[in-house]
Symmetry: C3
Subunit: 679 residues, 3 copies
């Protein structure tokens, strides 16, 4: 990964589809001109080019790609070269129907769309293997080659007979005997015990949907099978170009903008060299403030940085609107620079776009792009992109820097799956990822750096760990969290924690003993409220609304910080703190609004000296994020509001983007961003 | 049924699934201890135990069940033994795919879930036949055996070729010739006449859905085929244990809590010895008052009691929340005793639960249970259950008593099917079951006993019969109602009555002559209002809102009690009374709110001396229900509100539950229930 | 078409289904009596009679139809004879499953419903061919035969292998080479280029849905294949009875009441001799005023008249409610005459009903009809129908007259398809047909005649042409519109115009040059607003709300009439006028409410002298529509409100319906209609 690490520039550019324009040489020529004008240096190529690379079986056409590679190289650009498995040509589906995915209703899908091949099909694996080998053989030594981009936005699942068989083998590897599987899945319930491995099928809405262990193992298998396919794709690539980094683009789930739920990226991240992801917030929407949304963007960026503990890439973002939101509104002036800088501020070493140029036909022809159908540099969007390109050149010093953080929030994909599957409580109000983002909000508002980790991470480096709604919690995690607190850490958890083990089997004997000791309480009931129901928590001489969930518990040593004030549990403890070894564990029994979390974490941050010392007087709408080298910090100051804001900081500085000096009182116009260097 | 009738105790206990815990002997031992502590005496066993009873084909394992039966017997308990057809083991589906249900889109379902076998499959009938024979041979003489519980919550339908053929044979039995069927189904409409029996298929969303006679016969067939399967299940059981009563558990439809709609329980009830049902009201919800919901619970209990004119059983209820409501909220303190006593008050001889113990895995692991995962008797729910167990022992004198009622409401399943199918009016506003519950509400509010009967019942025993929205009304019913009124009865009906005959064919020649004579009016039009439309009825010097439906009619002898005040029919009659022979028939032309029904039935109750003489001054939120022997009444007084209430009654008494004396002024705390004995 | 044109009466009557009543001779006799009493003269027969005409294969029964034809003839009536392809008998599906439609998920449908045969099936074409030949041979010379009614409400699509093959052949006819198709569909996008024609399949939700060119061609194919089937149906009929006009009944889409969207009626209209259609407005609903709805009815009537530039027929309408709206409310007194006269006022030469008599069973038994189940002439609906019958006899002089109009609105089916398919903007807010109806509203409010044309029409006859949201606009249309304005015409267009060509490929190089010249602007961006977002337009010293869409553009010669007042484009032009040759082109950049359109078109109408000179002082709720001969006009004055209204007109006159003289001040009771004759 010599070049990737040594090259001293932030990446700017994006998905480029010359394969759509081979009949338009004037367009291809104009592209090169506009790339340079917009200060773009890096292009992802080939994601969906299979039908141009191999229009009929065995008939390969790389000549057009040769030229594009050469042209970009001559221009001084990088190429992130993609394998084309994201969409297959029609001849492949026609001749080998097994490559088509089978949906959960056991319907064989037809050719069409994209991201829809069977991950198990031997034929598909063979064909993509040949294609990838040809690509690496031809371009592995090309000087423009900067990174491999494997497929595109892996997702979905297949239920064909190949996949059923792979699922059964996966299970046989995991469970020594069928009895073990029946035990783990609580087989006798509704007579669901199996008498032979061959009886097992994947979950289906026309078959089995309610065996939680089964669902959980299926989701694990889907992640593993996707990774297995990915590993098949990169085999030759890794062998022939060991020095070229490999990535595949991750996603988020909309429209709430939460981490992507279908695949366990915590697992997948171990297989990529660099995390890259596609981020599409709906700026200027009509249901939340700009700061509300910016905070969610910050959360996922922090997560995808933390998982590998290194800078990541934005592989896709849009210079204006997208084409698949409910409403596709154009970015207001200034928002593009601001939102692009936010990615960098949270640890991205790139701002790449989908897409370089709007296609002329088909479904994405109105998706935002650097170059519009007008093919012009006078376009407002093109100018805003160029402004970003120029800024990225000016701030290239931040490349490779990381972000120091003392606070971590735990997000586990498996917990999310199990919790969403749980019947009881209320499906509509579970909102695990959203709840984490609400806890995160305090820290974002107050410019305190946060990492978002899985429960596999090393806890010892943090002063505060927050793990709300850890419904699925293994005994090992209980033990590791106990050790962490014992040795001086602070841990905060909430309602709906500690219910089931790794097989989604409940703990017997009441709330788990390790948690009772850690928190000094015993949870006895969890009340689930209807949407219009409200309780309240009295905390720090104030009353805070409680909703959705109220845990009831008995004290076993903890101090009471807050109590319920309504219903049959009025006067009972709601918020507790337990001194445990050198550290402390807090339990928040009720779901509250942000005002409580603001107060609660405010006191905690003060007590533990977690506050951002550089921000003397901040503003919730102004986000301050730093990127840090050992002895150097770069501070991004970003106004995510439609009003002029003023904040006070500890030191004067120079904005790297505009080369303007700033006093310790910073005044920011709407959407304005500063990047202040500190020695 | 010697033992069932002779045993002098109310049943307390519920669904017990030791088959899930065979590897946990300490749990099974604890069960016996907790059963006794909670005053539980009766357990349903085996509903879903097939995979433990016959883990592979022909390999039977009854030894575990032997022990459970013995243990419960030794503890002094009863067993309600279930046949395991509610869910089948995977080997059965794998080896004999014909046992899998085919849905209405003609898709063969996969193994999974439950309640999903084909009712026609010869193989399934053979296999369940063998199993049931083994159960009755082994346990028929077991001293713990108290009752047979056939399958579980029969429901659904199958559209496989076996079922198609059975449907055709059912039709051939019903219709002498194909011409008769074509006439009954109005075949020439849209060219739907058949030329051969083999052309007929069941309704399907990818085929026929709009031939109303076809739909109606299909629903009848589904009920009959379900009963046919049930009769197959009980054949050997009845023969070998004629003295053991047989039941299967009926249901209600949520979330409105109306009678179960898919099967005609009026027919099915004739085949069971005792009606038992599963009742799951969503107490403490956020869309209705506690009294609103209690009234609906009362309605269905009254119905399931009235159908067989004998006490019934609650086979399932929950000690706390369930796991399948939109929100699963825990019962507030006191609600469990109150809601349990309400079942008894309306004629139940049991309060059984689903479930005894929460399972450890899979979909129902958070469904309310007597024993929680904590396995503890200190649990709040366990204590409330124990309170009920103790109360049931104290009030066992009510066992076997019935309920005297002079008022009946007619509910016909076939009418509900036909009315829901009717195109015209407005689908969203039909609400036939809900409308009946609204008429019922006056009587519940005023503590007047009601029976809910089908139109097959003997009318002569009632002083008032209420039959709203009798859209499908046979000539025979018209005649029997006429005779009833002629001989002194009072009948009340409403808009949308008397449209079609038993084939869903309209009556020709205008509103049926027998109804014209009975009501002294001729209905000419039925106006259907949009949701925001309102008319009004002037009645008894007051104006009442009219909505949804306004019948227009000409007077043919009836007296006008109320008139419309708006729109083109302002001034026209809306409410009438017709003296007919010794009795009278009332017609309510418009749908109104409860305030009108309160006024209307208030005057009727006064005039006909139907008021509850014992209640001197009642309260709508306090329900008084009595259970009566020939010369003895037990009065349940139940406060379905969150406030303390006071009512005046005619006689002082002693509360059987607390053994406390009460004066004629009864003061009830929130959710408090009294049971006063009268000699 | 001698008789059709020469007969001097307006048609009154409707769908008559004696085939349902062959066992009820007394009903058939009563029909003839009631037909005459209701002044009905024309009946559509046989639409769904196949199972009565050919109950088993090859066994034909025409004797009943012979008698009906004779009876109607003797009564002096006309017969519109239908071919029975709208629904097929069960034996046909059973013996030849290929006649059953295959849905887009590739599921073979079952027998049932109607309008569900495969349009390609050779067997179905053979069988209907034989049937139609028999009908024309037997009744071609029958004196009652007035018109042919081919099938019924053609709609839907089939995806069977026959249809796939026909689709491929249709494509091969259209595209010289596969490369041409790949270019038109932008094939390389997502690797969707085909390498062989056989790879192409119809769009499917389990396959391809996002290739816009593919979708557009499929919709075109469906229209063409439907017409091809229709042409097959009429082959022998046309040959044997060339003088009898042929029609098939068109529809509208509810519940918004917009033109039918699935078939391109602009194309289909060329194949029928007379346009007839089925119109079912939801009068008296609770979401719009009576005038709001009447205006939409006017729009579609104007459209179906304009497409063939000749009077049309109302083939179906209801005398009261229908049975398939969400709420089926009865027509208020007077509404039936008013709404019937509205059809005539906009150019209909008929008012025919679905249905003559309510059927006794099945799905349409409560659909409004002239004759109810009471079989009575005393019925309110029957009397209102008779009133219409009498009125039609009195106003027969209008028959054959057309309507002079100087204003046209362009509606293109293909544009609607392409626009609905477009990803970008906001799906929920596109509302192309509804937007046209909003522009139409000014003219309806002010009694100015409008034609609704396709962009294929001759533009030269209009003084004003309005073409909002012409997203798909061919270069030819640009050119023809330019010529039209050049030569003195006035053209108004809006946001989202001029994006794509006939293949749904975007124009390259920015907004098309011809449009830039025509409008004197260059559109650069289109902002899409969220539902709660609002901007505003300052126009004519007033502020008007802007929503949904705001186009941004640069001026290239146009005059600015209105500017935006909010957001980053505050002060930028929103409404422009460009002098172009002898004419002018207006551009409305933002979507507004009706108040702006009222103001905008008010000034335009005044400037261009388009106002209705006869209406001195009108009322928005009172619609004035004229039918014109060369030298004679008939003016319908219709009060679409629930209040008495007064308007001032230029000349006194006599109401043809009541033969009452009216001064120039016309006072209209609620729902009143006048027809004033002018010489």
């Amino acid at each position: 990964m010599t070049r990737y690490n040594s090259e001293n520039r932030l990446l700017h550019g994006g998905d480029y589809n010359p394969d759509q324009w081979l009949d338009y040489p004037e367009i291809l020529a104009k592209d090169l001109e506009l790339m340079q004008k917009s200060k773009s240096n890096t292009f992802s190529i080939g994601m969906f080019a299979w039908s141009q690379l191999e229009p009929t079986e065995g008939d390969y056409h790389f000549e057009w790609l040769d030229k594009i590679m050469d042209d970009i190289y001559e221009m001084g650009g990088n190429v992130i070269l993609a394998t084309p498995s994201g969409a297959r040509p029609a001849w492949l589906s026609k001749k080998y129907p097994e490559v088509l995915r089978t949906n959960e209703r056991r319907e064989k899908m037809l050719q069409g769309g994209r991201h829809n091949h069977c991950f198990s099909s031997p034929v598909f694996r063979e064909k993509i293997g040949i294609m990838n080998r040809k690509l690496v053989e031809r371009y592995g030594n090309h000087p423009a080659l900067y990174m491999w981009h494997i497929s595109n936005e892996y997702s979905g699942e297949c239920h064909c007979e190949y996949c059923q068989e792979n699922f059964r083998q996966w299970l046989q590897k995991k469970y020594p005997t069928l009895k073990d599987l029946n035990d783990a899945w609580w087989g006798p319930f509704w007579s669901h015990a199996y008498s032979d491995w061959s009886e097992i099928e994947s979950p289906s809405s026309i078959g089995e949907t309610m065996v939680h262990g089964h669902n959980l193992d299926w989701r694990r298998f889907v992640t593993d099978q996707t990774i297995d396919f990915y590993e098949h794709e990169i085999k030759d690539i890794r062998q022939l170009t060991p020095e070229i980094p490999i990535t595949t683009n991750f996603m988020a789930d909309t429209h709430d903008l939460i981490p992507f739920q279908s695949l366990d990226y915590g697992k997948f991240a171990k297989h990529v060299d660099v995390i890259s992801w596609d981020c599409y917030p709906a700026w200027h929407n009509d249901w939340e403030t700009t700061a509300d949304l910016a905070s969610k963007v910050g959360f996922i960026n922090d997560q995808y940085r933390s998982i590998k503990q290194q800078p990541f890439l934005i592989m896709e973002s849009t210079p204006s609107g997208v084409n698949w939101h409910e409403v596709n509104k154009v970015k207001r002036p200034g928002m593009h620079l601001l939102s692009s800088m936010q990615f960098i501020a949270h640890g991205s070493d790139s701002n790449l776009y989908f897409q370089w140029r709007k296609s002329r036909g088909s479904s994405e022809k109105f998706h935002g792009a650097v170059v519009d159908h007008d093919n012009s540099e006078d376009n407002r969007v093109f100018k805003e992109v160029t402004r970003v390109g120029e800024a990225l050149e000016k701030i290239k010093a931040v490349k490779g820097s990381y972000k120091k953080a003392k606070v971590a929030i735990i997000y586990d994909w498996e917990n999310n799956w199990a919790l969403n599957d749980a019947q009881g409580f209320s499906n509509a109000s579970k909102r695990y990822p959203q709840t984490l983002q609400e806890h995160y909000r305090y820290f974002w508002n107050h410019d305190i750096a946060v990492e978002v980790i899985t429960s596999e991470a090393d806890f010892s480096k943090y002063e505060l760990i927050i793990g709300p709604m850890m419904y699925l919690m293994t005994e090992d995690v209980m033990k590791r969290l106990s050790t962490y607190v014992q040795q001086g850490g602070t841990f905060v958890s909430t309602y709906i924690t500690g219910y089931v083990n790794e097989n989604d089997l409940t703990y017997l004997g009441g709330w788990p003993q390790p948690l009772r000791e850690l928190f000094g309480i015993k949870v006895t009931e969890t009340d689930t409220l209807y949407p219009k129901d409200r309780n309240a928590v009295h905390y720090a001489d104030q009353s805070f609304e409680a909703k959705d969930y109220c845990s009831l518990f008995e004290l076993e040593g903890a101090d009471v910080l807050g109590t319920y004030t309504e219903d049959f549990y009025a006067g009972k403890p709601a918020i507790t703190r337990n001194q445990y070894g050198q550290g402390a564990a807090y339990f928040i029994g009720a779901r509250t609004n942000l005002d409580f979390l603001e107060r609660f974490y405010g006191e905690l941050a003060k007590a533990k000296d977690l506050e951002n010392a550089w921000v003397i007087k901040g503003d919730p709408d102004v986000s301050v994020q730093s990127r840090d080298f050992e002895d150097q910090s770069y501070r991004f100051v970003m106004n995510f509001s439609e009003e002029t804001k003023e904040i006070q900081v500890a030191t004067a500085g120079v904005d790297l983007i505009t080369r303007t000096a700033h006093p310790t009182t910073l005044t920011l116009a709407p959407y304005e961003v500063l990047l202040l260097e500190e020695n």
